[in-house]
Symmetry: C2
Subunit: 343 residues, 2 copies
């Protein structure tokens, strides 16, 4: 029999102490960590970068197919992704959670194990948070803090006409993983005797449940002395993100369908579900890749990196935002990404 | 008829733009604000202080008697209070909210009006956040960021034996305001024709709904060249907070009942509700005052400030934490403050 310890037995401060006791400090910038009114950070002449996210059960995740350890890991990763998208390095994190009494201490331990692994992997210090009860469901709020050399951060609004549009990794996988999980959930709810069929689908399931923030790309930029002219992370889908870059930089763009990076696994899954892989790549969210623009003279440098694809270039604002299909047709890019307020 | 605009009409980015458009930047340290993956802050050689809080409808507030404008104001204040409790100055804030479709744009406007007034009052810049939907209820997550001269922050763990224990303002008012509101809510639910009777109770209602973070105390310390030996803010009640200071500083304490600052309004309200004003002062939470310890030689300096009361002193850890009553009896101090996980 598995143990079940009620959260109430520890009290709020006992709980925080228990959940954070294995976390070690990796950064000299962490002057004061968990256990006071606030954490203190000294970035020693660098600038501080701050990003925050709220994740709510039933809206952003479904515990029916999301293991708590993966959820803890992902909650950290999606926030680190925002820090990398500024061309900065994450250094600290605050993690607040609210839970109903349906969660045991053992369940929270699993969640924090995922948080721990993600923090270790990126050398990030957990420096604070808040622990509370909720009437229903699991609520997660993460604030990620990072550092960047003075004015070396990269915004969304500074792309130039003619710049190459690039993306890391591949696209659409997380959306296809979600499609698969929702399908299996439906089958299971109709007949609980049928076990989920996830064979050969570990790639897309992993893309959904265990995204990786692209530290490697930021490290590569530094090694190669590349400074993107604009950058953001891919959370809503690249059609939505590229429109942000265009709008904020007051430019248009041309994307090539044939250049969109889609993995073989995603392509196969899309065909299986009767979906167009290109539509999944454009509009599927949660890939947590980086989309960025580069000066054309940096093109040679990035051919070294197989994880980076050039998918188009920036044009005049009057040209609009367009996708050139494999068949040679041109369509306007429209954002069909996840919209929190449309049901 | 009042207008009702559905949130869905604006979309996520339209909503953020709408809600933040009136917010101006006050601090040179705010290098990049709302509208990118993350905000960028440059505290120019100072240290960065970070605190975060999660506020959940039905747990931390009741919209039946909390106007949204007050809620916005209070959400900011409780976080600024944590920054002041480090002897630091708040400079930036991120505000994330999740709402169900029961909230209209007009309701959110009211909430953000309160956020705006609180930020203006303390010269704090709103630099980011996240806006999402919830299945049920209103969820608020605030991260406050501040600055402090290198190593000038004040922790909880550095009180010394013999130090004076001081508190700002008066205690128990917010708890009595809550008691009143809960009583009036109950009466109203039993008979909606009976209007709430809040006459002559504006002080305690204000203490609950519109707490003020004690910037004035931090400013006073600076003017008088006072550095508290330890400090924290009063959110759970001072019996709980003083135990934190003692535990983290490895000391005991002696508090004097007769020295606990209780306003006339709170005293009257306590008697009306059949409560002991001392118990309210010790265990009532949410006053958002500052509790701090001072070297005895600073005593003269603080007699200048009517907003500061000396309520006891720190003793050896072996002496325990005690309250000396007006009748001359000594009782152990126990924390009966709000515990998020006890129902």
């Amino acid at each position: 029999m598995e143990n079940r310890t009620e959260i109430g037995e520890l009290g709020e401060f006992g709980l925080i102490e228990h959940l954070t006791k294995n976390f070690e400090i990796h950064n000299a910038s962490t002057v004061l960590s968990v256990g006071d009114d606030a954490a203190v950070i000294d970035h020693f002449g660098k600038q501080t970068v701050v990003s925050t996210d709220l994740l709510i059960e039933g809206i952003h995740f479904d515990l029916m197919y999301t293991p708590l350890k993966h959820l803890g890991y992902k909650s950290v990763m999606v926030n680190l992704s925002d820090i990398y998208a500024m061309n900065a390095s994450p250094t600290q994190l605050t993690m607040s959670i609210a839970i109903s009494n349906r969660f045991s201490l053992e369940a929270l331990n699993e969640f924090y194990e995922g948080v721990y692994i993600a923090c270790e992997k990126h050398g990030v210090d957990l420096v604070g948070g808040d622990t509370s009860s909720s009437n229903k469901g699991f609520i997660i709020s993460v604030t990620a803090i990072g550092e960047v050399a003075p004015n070396a951060f990269v915004k969304r609004s500074t792309a130039q006409k003619g710049d190459l549009i690039c993306v890391s990794g591949d696209l659409g996988g997380a959306f296809l993983g979600l499609t698969l999980m929702e399908r299996e959930k439906k089958i299971y709810l109709e007949d609980p005797k049928i076990q989920p069929d996830l064979e050969n689908e570990s790639y897309i399931v992993g893309r959904l449940l265990k995204p990786e923030a692209r530290k490697d790309i930021i490290d590569f930029f530094e090694q190669q002395n590349i400074v993107p002219t604009s950058m953001m992370d891919v959370s809503d889908g690249i059609s939505s993100e590229v429109l942000h870059l265009c709008k904020q930089s007051n430019l248009g763009c041309l994307l090539y369908e044939e250049k969109l990076p889609v993995s073989d696994e995603s392509r196969k899954a899309a065909y299986k579900f009767g979906l167009d892989p290109t539509v999944c790549a454009l509009n599927g969210g949660e890939d947590y890749e980086l989309i960025f623009t580069l000066k054309q003279e940096d093109h040679e440098k990035i051919t070294l990196n197989e994880e980076i694809s050039v998918i188009g270039y920036m044009t005049e604002v009057t040209e609009g935002c367009k996708l050139l299909t494999k068949g040679g047709n041109s369509y306007p890019v429209t954002a069909q990404g996840w919209n929190a307020f449309q049901q």
